[in-house]
């Protein structure tokens, strides 16, 4: 399925994402009482190979989480190992962290970022969806995701400069959900289908 977004649609999605991540950052900032820098979100339509490339970045922790409802898909979080310890402390974890703690921090953090982004995004579009439990993703991304011929990827970076931590949230929508999102978006923008 070829899904070229018009400039107007891309701009719309980007702004929706921008607002969602603003809310996410605000939530996280309040929780850990630290300022978070935001980047301008990237909205792209990618092939499975490209998605693989984005996700299989070296030297990061990866978690995944699916969401189900009026829109469906998967959220992939890439989290830098740098600064994790400091974040864990800000989140009230006792140091030193053991492996279980580390995994829990990763999942907590992923859930917070993914949850806030997705909630903001879906509520602006008035679409209901809910996240399932996150899991740590150790393997290379491969065939299971390749079934999706095209994926709409929304990539957001959260950077906490004071402790050199950065993370990327990648929201992947399946084809039907892309259609749903675009319909809603068109309605918001006043574009005829």
């Amino acid at each position: 399925m070829n899904m070229p977004l018009s400039e107007e649609q891309r701009d719309g999605l980007q702004e929706l994402m921008n607002i969602s991540m603003g809310q996410a950052a605000n939530s996280l900032a309040r929780l850990i009482e630290t300022k978070i820098s935001l980047s301008i979100p990237e909205i792209t339509s990618v092939s499975p190979n490209q998605l693989n490339e984005i996700c299989n970045t070296a030297h990061v922790y990866r978690t995944r989480q699916s969401f189900l409802g009026e829109i469906k898909g998967e959220v992939i979080n890439l989290l830098s190992p740098q600064g994790l310890k400091e974040i864990a402390e800000l989140m009230d974890y006792d140091s030193p962290l053991d492996d279980s703690d580390l995994n829990e921090v990763l999942l907590d953090l992923s859930n917070i970022l993914a949850g806030a982004c997705l909630n903001g995004f879906s509520s602006q579009l008035e679409l209901k969806t809910s996240l399932t439990m996150p899991t740590i993703y150790k393997h290379q991304l491969s065939d299971d995701i390749a079934e999706w011929k095209t994926t709409l990827v929304m990539k957001i970076a959260f950077i906490i400069e004071s402790i050199a931590f950065d993370s990327r949230v990648i929201i992947c929508l399946d084809e039907n959900s892309i259609k749903t999102v675009i319909q809603k978006l068109n309605a918001m923008l006043g574009i005829e289908d």
């Binding site: 996280l28 929780l31 829990e104 999942l107 949850g115």
Partner: protein
């Protein structure tokens, strides 16, 4: 209806408010509380009901209240947040419940999160199964590693076997060649020796004739004799024939030495076994080798002549090994250098190291040096049998020979022999 329904749902449900007070708990949860906890926990603080988990629970609640989004905890990282029991299906034992937990925000038609619903799923069965699988996988992994090491050992053993088989084949070939060459060399040698005697007879006769011809008055005959002498260059012949014969004998000597080596190479077990002092062996070897080493190498010994290192062995064969290694070491040194000989007498083995400061062996040749007929020396100077012979001698003694070399720095040959007795070699003797 919902009130009735929630009793049958096989998950623990518990609602907490912003003050961390239990607002509601379902039957499933209450039935699994520890015995010393009151059944009616509604209205109590988590600090009281779950004192050990209070910190974790509060942290999760804080995040749900702040973010207005669900939070999770997974048994693998936090197996028993809430102290609850579970019956373990495998053994029937009461045991701590493994739990997957969801902390879900409750809005109750408001913008703010007022309460959090905690949903506790009993995954004890899954967890114990998973842990069993994990243990099995780990055991398999260990076994796999062991197999891997075993495979490596086997491979090494096979390589060694291959090398010794190669030695055996070469040995047979060498024995054949030595035998075939030995006969002709024998008669050529004796013929040339007779020829030498006969030639000196002829030359004595010739001298007699010359002496008498010079006294002859018949100048015509004397002239003819002179002519014949010139025609056949008799003066040159007198000098050259003994030289030629001598060279032939030297050549034959070299050939018989090669044959000797081939013979000893193929008959390494033909020597007498006895207890012998290796230091004496090295010393006597050094005496023999002295001629070929004294010009370029200083011999440095780390052992004392008063020491005694005994080994049950074939002394002559062992000396052959020392000779080969020492001569190789000396020859690797171009102008001047040192050959260090050390011997280490350990409890179960003897280790002899011969180290030189010579030119070293290129990495590409290291694997070939024990092959028969491999030599880097100019044609005629080396047979290429020295090291392969040494290898098979050491192998006969159940020892090992190792080489470390760095081009431009030097080479160390390390030979180690296990300290064995006659009985340990009995199979070798019966085999042959």
């Amino acid at each position: 209806m919902f009130n009735e329904l929630q009793r049958y749902i096989p998950v623990g449900i518990c609602v907490l408010d912003q003050a961390h007070t239990v607002v509601f708990a379902n039957e499933f949860l209450k039935n699994r509380l520890p015995d010393n906890t009151p059944k009616n926990i509604e209205g109590m603080s988590v600090d009281k009901v779950f004192p050990d988990a209070a910190k974790i629970i509060k942290r999760k609640l804080k995040s749900v209240f702040a973010l207005k989004a669900a939070s999770f905890s997974y048994w693998e990282h936090r197996p028993h947040v809430f102290e609850l029991s579970s019956s373990r299906p495998v053994t029937g034992d009461e045991t701590s419940m493994y739990q997957n937990i969801q902390y879900v925000p409750i809005f109750e038609h408001s913008e703010e999160v007022k309460k959090v619903c905690v949903i506790i799923q009993d995954v004890t069965e899954l967890a114990s199964y998973y842990q069993e699988q994990k243990r099995l996988t780990e055991a398999l992994e260990i076994e796999k590693q062991e197999l891997k090491t075993l495979n490596l050992k086997l491979e090494a053993a096979q390589n060694q076997l291959l090398q010794s088989e190669k030695m055996a084949a070469i040995g047979q070939l060498a024995a054949g060649v030595a035998h075939e060459i030995n006969n002709p060399i024998g008669f050529v040698n004796s013929n040339i020796q007779s020829l030498e005697g006969q030639a000196s007879g002829l030359f004595a006769m010739l001298a007699f004739y010359e002496a008498h011809f010079s006294t002859l008055v018949d100048s015509d005959l004397a002239q003819q004799e002179q002519q014949l002498q010139n025609q056949h260059s008799i003066d040159f012949l007198k000098e050259d024939v003994p030289d030629l014969l001598q060279e032939c004998l030297e050549g034959l000597d070299r050939v018989s030495k090669i044959v000797e080596s081939l013979k000893s190479f193929s008959h390494v077990d033909n020597q007498e076994w006895q207890e012998a002092d290796l230091i004496k062996g090295i010393e006597s070897t050094l005496k023999i080798a002295n001629n070929s080493i004294k010009y370029h190498a200083v011999i440095n010994k780390t052992y004392s002549l008063d020491d005694e290192v005994l080994l049950y062995c074939q002394p002559m064969q062992i000396n052959q090994v020392f000779l080969n290694l020492i001569i190789n070491a000396a020859q690797s040194i171009a102008s001047s250098g040192t050959v260090t000989i050390s011997i280490e007498d350990k409890q179960n083995e003897v280790i002899i190291a011969i180290q030189d400061t010579g030119k070293g062996i290129p990495a590409g040749d290291i694997n070939k040096i024990f092959n028969p007929f491999f030599t880097t020396k100019p044609v005629g100077q080396g047979t290429g049998l020295g090291l392969s012979l040494s290898y098979s001698i050491v192998a006969k003694h159940k020892g090992r020979i190792q080489v470390d070399s760095q081009v431009g720095v030097g080479t160390t040959f390390t030979v180690s022999f296990p300290k064995l007795s006659e009985a340990d070699f009995s199979d070798e003797f019966t085999d042959n």
